[in-house]
């Protein structure tokens, strides 16, 4: 237990979380994150409810075999195309950290995780001309935000029931977006640059409950229902309002076609329209509910060492929450693959995932991203 606490403090507490930003997440609370391990991402997310290192559903802790600490890094290399310009962007973040530990002879598993809830990393530059002091002045604006909402989850799962694991999680959603606005009047040095900053902090809580049931040795069915309550916002320590966070409903199935070959599928529905009124009140077009569909497969080399050099593949389609001005809902689809290896007598491991994502809004804006996940895990 002591080693578990050391792992928890070392891995979870200081972690600054963020992950893939997107041009489709500039508005609203930010681009939603995915509480998945590198392994689950490699299967398109379809194994998320059956993967002990993912924090999508609390009952997936039932798949944990031993105390484990996982730390995931993500490299995001994006090409952005809009009617205004094309550009290449890159970021590196740490989207998922998790510590798990079984106790009570393995019947109970506790998990502490920190994952990305929404990401508000962006920086946009615009040029405009206005008339000030009766003269046209060219204004160069740079609006940026660095930060995210993180989802700190404390979850427990019980797998003492026949063929069934149930879990409960409590989520602390908190984070800060450090926002800046810089305006330079590039055509007239008489005007001083405007530099304004704010720290917009959000905090809220959520609850999740989930279960997984095995049907024989080949089929697993899992599901989770999660409710995130209102997120309170303050800007530089001044209360500036709140908005409702979405419900999450997810269900999935995993089927073992052969002892070394599993396939899975998952459907997730999130009621992001809960943010709509807040966005519309602020002048934004609003938001809609999202659907996330994924299928994936995992082929392992050895049943005894499934984490060593498996082949994982996945496909995914999802709608994105924030509407365009014309009311359309952007979407994304992805293909992913990955593998991993275990060493040091399986006490340590690395999983690598390559995720190719295409995002579009149907109005000429698109984003192609290579997402490279590298996760290190320790089983002390």
């Amino acid at each position: 237990m002591r080693r578990f606490l050391v792992l928890a403090i070392a891995l979870v507490w200081p972690t600054a979380l963020a992950a893939q930003a997107s041009i489709f997440g500039i508005r609203g609370p930010g681009f939603p994150g995915r509480p998945l391990s590198a392994r689950a991402v490699a299967t398109g997310g379809s194994f998320g409810l059956f993967d002990g290192e993912s924090s999508l559903g609390p009952s997936s802790l039932g798949f944990v075999g031993a105390s484990t600490g996982t730390f995931t890094m993500l490299g995001d290399y994006r090409s952005v195309s809009t009617p205004v310009s094309d550009d290449n962007l890159r970021t590196v973040r740490f989207p998922q950290t998790m510590v798990t530990a079984p106790f009570l002879n393995g019947r109970m598993i506790v998990g502490l995780s920190a994952s990305l809830y929404t990401n508000r990393d962006y920086a946009i530059v615009t040029v405009d001309t206005s008339s000030i002091f009766d003269n046209p002045v060219i204004e160069l604006d740079s609006v940026g935000s660095r930060g995210s909402l993180s989802d700190f989850r404390f979850a427990m799962a019980y797998r003492g029931l026949p063929q069934t694991t149930v879990g409960l999680g409590i989520h602390f959603i908190t984070g800060v977006a450090r926002q800046t606005l810089v305006r330079r009047f590039i055509s007239d040095s008489s005007f001083a640059a405007v530099v304004q900053r704010a720290e917009v902090a959000g905090s809220g809580i959520g609850l999740s409950i989930g279960g997984t049931r095995a049907f024989g040795q080949q089929l697993w069915i899992g599901g989770v229902v999660r409710k995130d309550f209102r997120l309170s916002l303050d800007s530089d320590s001044i209360d500036v309002g709140s908005f409702a966070l979405p419900w999450t409903f997810a269900g999935g199935a995993r089927y073992r076609i052969a002892p070394r070959f599993d396939v899975a599928t998952q459907v997730m529905y999130r009621t992001w329209s809960s943010v709509d009124s807040f966005l519309v009140a602020g002048g934004a077009p609003g938001s809609g509910n999202t659907v996330d569909l994924s299928v994936g497969a995992e082929l392992v080399q050895s049943v005894q060492r499934p984490g060593n050099l498996p082949v994982r593949l996945g496909l995914r389609y999802a709608t994105l929450p924030y509407l365009t001005t014309s009311g359309k809902q952007p979407y994304e689809y992805a293909i992913s693959g990955g593998t991993g290896m275990r060493f040091a007598k399986d006490r340590a491991g690395i999983d690598v995932t390559l995720d190719k994502v295409w995002r579009k809004d149907g109005e000429g804006r698109s984003e192609n991203a290579w997402l490279i996940y590298v996760a290190a895990s320790l089983r002390p």
């Binding site: 609203g28 590196v92 926002q179 060493f343």
Partner: protein
């Protein structure tokens, strides 16, 4: 077995390290596709004009005395802004010099006058400073008429030609032979040489000659002397600077009244202008530009081609004429003689001092520089005429609504 695993472990550890290093190289900025992919909030620049508080503007005189700053004024007859003659009184010249540790008498070989020219109008050619020996009884306590009457052919010493190409510098003339009699000191002079100065040129003009604080452009005279020591002629130079630099002008400077403010002149006049800053600007706005606009009531009197600077100064507290200036916070604009157009001074930093957090008084002190040492004397329409009163034009932005999605 472990031997076989080690290289793989190292490779993977290297991959992790490479990814970590890559974290130092982020690029997030992209051109915004607005309004679709931009935050909905906009930063609007507001452009507003604030007229000075009616009756809150005043002119105060007596800060810097004539001749005590960098320059005195000397003019030809007919120069419109003023008619002035100058006075130099030099440090006492000793009647002996120290040679081989012994004071010895000397004979004068020649005398040179070096007159510092601080400013002039180079468009007027053949400028000459006429030097006159001032008789007893003519001094700085006198009047222009008394001084002008003393500058006669009988007291004329010589003229100092100022090359046409010189805008500022030192002009020199040397007297020798019979001319030395014009500057000979009598016992009653107590070794002190006092001269008066007029100006001649191809047209009406003026010149600013070195005053007490002129530094390298100070005026002085040199006496080249010879002492005989053991059948050997020993040469020395006695240099004496002006200890009194003054001038008399025929008519006083224009005075302030209810309809106009005065900035400049000698003794110098400053003007204090008060404003009332709206709460929206004072409390939270970011000022991107603030300009003080002043309307001359008439073409600015001054010496052509000899620009001066009008400065706007913030004050620490508002106690009227003696309001202490906030050091290091001075905004400047150049004023030209004959200028009829608006005087505009960028005062963003000063107005920033009026905002919450600094809370300095919303007032500006106007001062001409060099104070009491420039012909330039703007006369500015006061708040008695609201349409042309001093005013601030301010461009500002309010707090950006960062929470606005």
């Amino acid at each position: 077995m472990s031997v076989a695993r080690t290289p793989v472990t190292r490779v993977l550890a290297g991959a992790l390290a490479a990814l970590a290093i890559a974290a130092c190289s982020e690029k997030l900025a992209t051109p915004g596709d607005c309004p679709d992919l931009c935050p909905n909030a906009e930063l609007t620049v507001f452009d507003t004009t604030i007229v000075a508080v009616t009756g809150g503007d005043s002119s105060f005189t007596g800060y810097v005395a004539p001749g005590t700053n960098t320059a005195i004024f000397v003019t030809t007859d007919g120069f419109a802004p003023m008619n002035a003659r100058g006075i130099y009184e030099f440090l006492r010249r000793p009647d002996s010099v120290l040679v081989n540790d012994t004071l010895r008498a000397y004979t004068i070989d020649s005398v040179a006058f070096l007159i510092g020219v601080v400013g002039r109008d180079t468009a007027v050619k053949n400028l000459r400073v006429a030097l006159y020996r001032l008789p007893e009884g003519i001094d700085t306590a006198g009047t222009f008429a008394e001084l002008a009457a003393a500058l006669t052919p009988e007291t004329f010493i010589d003229t100092v030609p100022v090359p046409d190409s010189v805008r500022s510098g030192t002009a020199r003339v040397v007297l020798s032979g019979e001319a030395l009699a014009r500057v000979a000191l009598a016992p009653a002079d107590s070794g002190v040489l006092r001269i008066g100065m007029g100006l001649t040129a191809d047209g009406p003009t003026g010149a600013r000659l070195g005053g007490l604080s002129a530094g390298p452009l100070a005026s002085f005279y040199q006496t080249f002397v010879t002492s005989i020591v053991a059948d050997t002629a020993v040469r020395n130079t006695i240099t004496r600077g002006a200890t009194t630099t003054a001038y008399e002008q025929e008519a006083p400077d224009p005075a302030a009244d209810a309809s106009r403010l005065v900035v400049g002149g000698a003794p110098s006049t400053r003007s204090l202008i008060r404003f009332e800053l709206p709460a929206v600007i004072r409390d939270s706005a970011t000022i991107v530009r603030a300009r003080l606009e002043l309307e001359p009531s008439e073409p600015v009197p001054g010496l052509p081609n000899d620009p001066a600077e009008i400065t706007a100064n913030a004050i620490i507290i508002d106690v009227g004429a003696k309001s202490p200036l906030l050091s290091g916070l001075v905004e400047v604009d150049t004023v030209l003689a004959g200028q009829t157009g608006r005087i505009e001074i960028e005062v963003r930093r000063i107005v920033g001092q009026w905002q919450a957090g600094n809370d300095r008084p919303p007032a500006i002190f106007l001062i001409m520089e060099p104070e009491a040492a420039t012909f330039t004397l703007p006369l500015i329409v006061s708040t008695a005429d609201p349409a042309r009163a001093p005013r601030l034009r301010i461009a500002y932005v309010r707090r950006y609504p960062f929470v606005n999605p």
